[in-house]
């Protein structure tokens, strides 16, 4: 006879943590990869000089005048080519706009490409100016370099949100399916282990990693890019914990029936890829059409990102993010509840 060596929840959670820390690849994806991604994207968008747009001028009468006008203008890199070559360059994205000389001058471009539209405005202005049209009012450019308003500032909370989603879902989903696959799940339920404690251990082990995960990205952003931190650490902690539990719940749900790693990977991607794109990780979701907005805002990652940005960048208090937290909690409770119901234990 002997004493029980501690609460089963403690040992189940310790198992989850060990399983993870003893897998060096998993550590790379969770801790190193997000930081590398933030670094790469931060560099790519860091205080970039004014964009120069490439445009093609088709050969023909009047082309030389146009070339002269564009050469003199700032922010345009013109090339003089045959019309077929110009089309080719436009098609392959090497130029944003084709200028066909004549009367009137014709602009050929794809209006859905943002840089093409910019090129059109810049080129038009250069041509008008060469024709003697002078602006009526003076303007001065002042570039934003203020902390909190740069792309990296926007990006970092999004990456934190994405990390919370990714590690939550992968960690829980893979762990469950692996356990089921190896018949270990069956062995566990042959013991008096409580099923809810088994599930809870996945959620709790997530919290352990969360501190490191969120902490490393926040510290990295602050030290390398000077990303500001205007809100309270406590508020970020509360939001992160809620987010982690929500996505652990979704991970449980996604893994609740799958028998194979391949099966659960597919489902994970179905759930996560749309949110990578639509939930404002890399760019604001306001770019999507107005009718989609209510749906996008109801997504858990959108709510998490919005809450994190509000606190980190705007210094909003926790009370003001309660709407976002409500959306997260609803997803978390809902998915955990459904997962418990439909879970395949055998």
């Amino acid at each position: 006879m002997s004493e029980r060596p501690g609460h089963p929840l403690v040992h189940l959670t310790a198992w989850r943590i060990r399983e993870f820390t003893r897998e060096p690849e998993a550590l790379f994806w969770v801790f190193v990869f997000p930081v590398l991604l933030a670094f790469a994207l931060g560099l790519a968008f860091k205080n970039r000089a004014v964009q120069v747009v490439a445009v093609a001028v088709e050969r023909g009468s009047g082309a030389a005048d146009l070339m002269q006008a564009l050469d003199a203008a700032a922010g345009v890199a013109p090339v003089l080519v045959d019309s077929s070559e110009a089309r080719n360059r436009l098609r392959t994205g090497r130029v944003a706009l084709v200028v066909r000389p004549g009367e009137p001058v014709v602009f050929v471009y794809d209006s859905t490409r943002q840089e093409s539209y910019v090129a059109r405005l810049v080129v038009d202005q250069a041509i008008q100016r060469a024709a003697g049209v002078e602006p009526r009012r003076a303007v001065v450019d002042r570039r934003v370099t203020e902390k909190g308003a740069r792309y990296i500032d926007f990006l970092l909370p999004g990456l934190i949100g994405m990390g919370i989603m990714g590690t939550g879902m992968w960690g829980v989903g893979f762990g469950i399916v692996k356990t089921r696959n190896q018949k270990l799940l069956k062995r566990l339920i042959a013991s008096p282990m409580r099923r809810s404690e088994f599930m809870l251990s996945f959620v709790l082990s997530r919290l352990f990693f969360l501190v490191l995960e969120v902490g490393s990205l926040l510290a990295f952003g602050a030290l390398v890019f000077g990303v500001p931190f205007r809100g309270s650490l406590l508020a970020v902690a509360v939001i992160s914990v809620l987010g982690a539990m929500t996505f652990a719940g979704l991970g449980l749900l996604v893994a609740s029936r799958s028998r194979t790693i391949e099966g659960v990977s597919g489902l994970m991607n179905v759930v996560m890829v749309p949110m990578w794109i639509c939930s404002g990780v890399f760019f604001a979701y306001s770019n999507f059409p107005e009718p989609m907005q209510p749906f996008l805002q109801a997504l858990p990652l959108t709510a998490l990102n919005d809450a994190l940005r509000a606190v980190i960048l705007d210094g909003t208090g926790l009370a003001a993010t309660v709407g976002f937290l409500g959306i997260l909690a609803a997803w978390g409770v809902g998915s955990f509840g459904v997962a418990l119901k439909v879970f395949r234990w055998q």
């Binding site: 006879m1 002997s2 029980r4 060596p5 501690g6 609460h7 089963p8 403690v10 040992h11 189940l12 310790a14 198992w15 060990r18 399983e19 003893r22 897998e23 190896q182 018949k183 270990l184 069956k186 062995r187 339920i189 042959a190 013991s191 008096p192 282990m193 055998q346």
Partner: protein, 309 residues
Amino acid sequence: MTGTAIACRGLVKHYGDVVAVDGLDLEVRRGECFGMLGPNGAGKTTTIEIIQGLLRPDAGSVEILGATWDRDERALRERLGTQLQETKLPDKLEVEEVLVLFRSFYRDGHAVADVLRQVGLYDKRRSWVVKLSGGQRQRLAVACALVCRPDVLFLDEPTTGLDPQSRRQLWDVISEFRRQGGTILLTTHYMEEAERLCDRVAVVDGGRIITQGSPRELITSLGAEHVVEFALADGVGLGRADLAALPGVEQVHDADGKIRLTVSHIHQTVPALMHVLAERGAMLSELTTHHATLEDVFLALTGRHLRDE
């Protein structure tokens, strides 16, 4: 202790059109080691999983230690130790960590270190499971079953795929549990295992028990204790009737070009057989004799071998 540990009546389980268990009755007494012996696909695993409350039968009832799964699941789970076929314990946990995890699920049980010593894994307690040999893993699986100090131990093919030495080590562990008064239900398709460990054996085939009793009783039921097996070099015909008429022959069995005689008095049968063969001018290509085993019981009942080898 006396009384019934496990009682099943009329168990039926279908998987689609396949009948895995077909009206099976089983009774295991307290303190005995009961074996279900049968070939792969006989329904042994399905039966033992139904008894452990891991599968629901389509029909029939199960009672363990006077309790049923519907009413007393949690209390029952505290008192049963189990080793399932094909369970892979977590690769990257240490041996001791695995056992502590399983120990933590139970209110009462043995100290982890004691169980590790008992199964001979104490020196390996800091090794990752992935580094263990097949025999060591299987002993760890049995340790996880023993750590709760169970009243009933379920073992589903505990030694399948193990080398003879590992098998013997596990047999010692199981015998020790039995000696201390534990009840065991095990499945196996090794007749030596059943003969060595079990007080009583049920021979299972096609989802039913076709006979049961102590290994000795079952062998005695053949009516003869010896088996003579022979094959002829040039296919000279030798009628079944001729063989059955030989002194001491109880049964004649003819399969795959080999003839098996189940005999009671081998000293009378063999000289007589030689005489008949010489008369007919037949040449032996093979001749063996052995004491009858459970394998022979299975063969006599089903016409098939326990293992397809």
